[in-house]
């Protein structure tokens, strides 16, 4: 049953000025040791960076700022929820554990103040093998010990040993002085339930290369809800994924006909935030973070999930999303799905 929709698109509010704006992008292959650079960046307080790469042979996706190849970086990283790795005085910002080819996608943020060390964080998903293999995930924090200049170039470095055959890095910016209205993230779809429903489905939306998705879910009455998800109404077993629950060890799931960004059902609100790389001819890779409120009241601790997901489809872009409660309950009135995108 299709959900009732109210206010599917609303424009013209005071909001809309000064969101993330694209500052530049560079695409192409990267031989071992080569970078994709986005230079001549204006001095913005914050940067949001998206990258995606392909290449069947082992390559990496690390960062450099201002083309600095000196030993001026330090990092901390965790792969698949395992014990963290740290390193200091490196000549790059570690953004990829290496040892893998395949498609990769990450979302990063950097803080930029010219007289201060530059700080960053990123979340990455790696395809691994094509097909039913679950993807891998990693989280990083970065430091560039450079206090003389603002960030002017952000580079994606390939430490090799092989070539990344294609890819792209996109740099977005935000600054307090910004007044632009040409936001990078375009609203592709917005659905709010006007009455309780067991599903919350998008309309068909334009296929865009990068997707950002938010789900604000509330249960109907005393119903329990979780979250399951299909793409383009695909009911095949094309949804391998990896998850950590409350910071615990990762599990992997293959052979499923849906993702479950939040599988545990309860009579609690749930918030899911996702990013996807959505190239037609590549498997689609997603990163999701979720929180469930748990029972009402501050004495009850919320729960969290961290997922990376792979939609095994190399023929179509994601152009619709179908969400269910993963139980017999219904989503309540006011539950909302937002889909943002950009090429």
């Amino acid at each position: 049953m299709a959900p009732m929709i109210m206010n599917p698109f609303r424009f013209g509010s005071a909001a809309g000025a000064g969101g993330w704006v694209e500052l530049g992008r560079t695409s192409g292959s990267r031989a071992s040791g080569a970078t994709l650079d986005v230079g001549s960046l204006p001095d913005k307080r914050y940067y949001m960076v998206l990258y995606e790469t392909q290449g069947s042979s082992t390559h990496t996706c690390d960062y450099r700022l201002n083309s600095d190849s000196g030993t001026n970086y330090a990092y901390r990283a965790s792969q698949n929820g395992t014990a963290e790795t740290t390193n200091t005085s490196t000549n790059f910002m570690f953004g990829d554990y290496g040892g893998q080819g395949g498609d990769k996608f990450a979302v990063a943020y950097f803080a930029n103040q010219n007289t201060k060390e530059k700080l960053g964080m990123s979340h990455q998903v790696r395809q691994g093998s094509t097909g039913s293999t679950a993807p891998t995930r990693a989280g990083y924090v970065h430091k560039h010990a450079q206090t003389s200049n603002p960030i002017s170039t952000i580079s994606l470095l390939n430490r090799g040993p092989n070539t990344s055959t294609s890819g792209e890095i996109v740099v977005l910016g935000w600054d307090p002085e910004d007044t632009h209205t040409d936001n990078f993230w375009e609203e592709l779809d917005s659905v709010t339930l006007e009455s309780a429903n067991a599903s919350l489905d998008s309309n068909t939306f334009s296929g865009k290369k990068y997707l950002m998705i938010q789900l604000a879910l509330i249960p109907n009455s005393t119903d329990s809800i979780g979250v399951d998800m299909q793409i383009n109404s695909d009911t095949g077993t094309n949804y391998p994924f990896r998850r950590s629950t409350n910071g615990g060890a990762d599990g992997t799931w293959t052979g499923f006909n849906e993702f479950t960004p939040y599988p545990s059902a309860g009579n609690f609100p749930i918030f899911v935030n996702m990013f996807w790389i959505n190239n037609t001819s590549n498997e689609k890779l997603g990163i999701a973070h979720s929180i469930s409120a748990n029972t009402t009241g501050s004495s009850n601790i919320p729960e969290r999930r961290e997922d990376v997901m792979k939609w095994v489809n190399t023929s179509n872009q994601i152009t619709s999303l179908q969400f269910g409660t993963n139980t017999v309950g219904q989503f309540g009135t006011g539950s909302t799905l937002k889909v943002w995108g950009s090429d």
């Binding site: 609303r10 909001a15 963290e84 700080l119 960053g120 964080m121 010990a145 604000a216 910071g247 501050s298």
Partner: protein, 170 residues
């Protein structure tokens, strides 16, 4: 409705406050992204509290938190007076990214990630924090206060050029 700026403040001098929505309430939005880049002024004792946020100036026990530091097991804290961005105290520059979900009539939820610069220089690795919080207030928030052991007792101030920013959309 497009994402847009809802509030921002950059300190022009060291201050005990780095708050949004104080003089003019923030617009209420269902979804928000909050970014803060806090700079240490290098004075005072600022290691008695972890970075945190206070919503709508409510400092009663209206918050519940789950946080992991450096990939360690989650720690949980019930009936707190603030939303924690970090498990540990931070006395260095730090940068946090927070995604808020605020549905009117429901408890408000947040996902956050923080990088703590630690000691200056490339010889010290930064720290990493992941946290989730809920605020039991059920009216969409209109104010967000940065809170990191503020107060004249300890003398710590956010340094000049510290920034807090919030973007929002419905």
């Amino acid at each position: 409705m497009a994402w847009g700026k809802n509030g921002t403040e950059t300190l022009t001098s060291a201050s005990l406050d780095l708050d949004l929505g104080v003089s003019t309430a923030l617009t209420k939005y269902k979804f928000s992204v909050y970014l803060t880049h806090v700079l240490n002024d290098g004075t005072g004792i600022n290691n008695d509290s972890a970075p945190s946020l206070i919503m709508d100036n409510v400092s009663s026990a209206s918050y519940a938190n789950r946080v992991s530091a450096n990939g360690g097991s989650d720690s949980t804290f019930a009936s707190q007076t603030k939303e924690y961005l970090s498990l540990n105290t931070i006395k260095d520059d730090f940068f946090s990214v927070v995604y808020f979900c605020a549905i009117d009539g429901e408890e408000q939820l947040m996902l956050s990630w923080t990088v703590d610069a630690k000691s200056s220089g490339a010889g010290t690795a930064p720290n990493r924090d992941e946290s989730i919080n809920k605020y039991t207030g059920t009216s969409q928030f209109e104010r967000v206060d940065n809170n990191n052991n503020r107060g004249s007792t300890y003398g710590y101030e956010y340094d000049t050029d510290s920034n807090a920013t919030i973007l929002g959309t419905d």
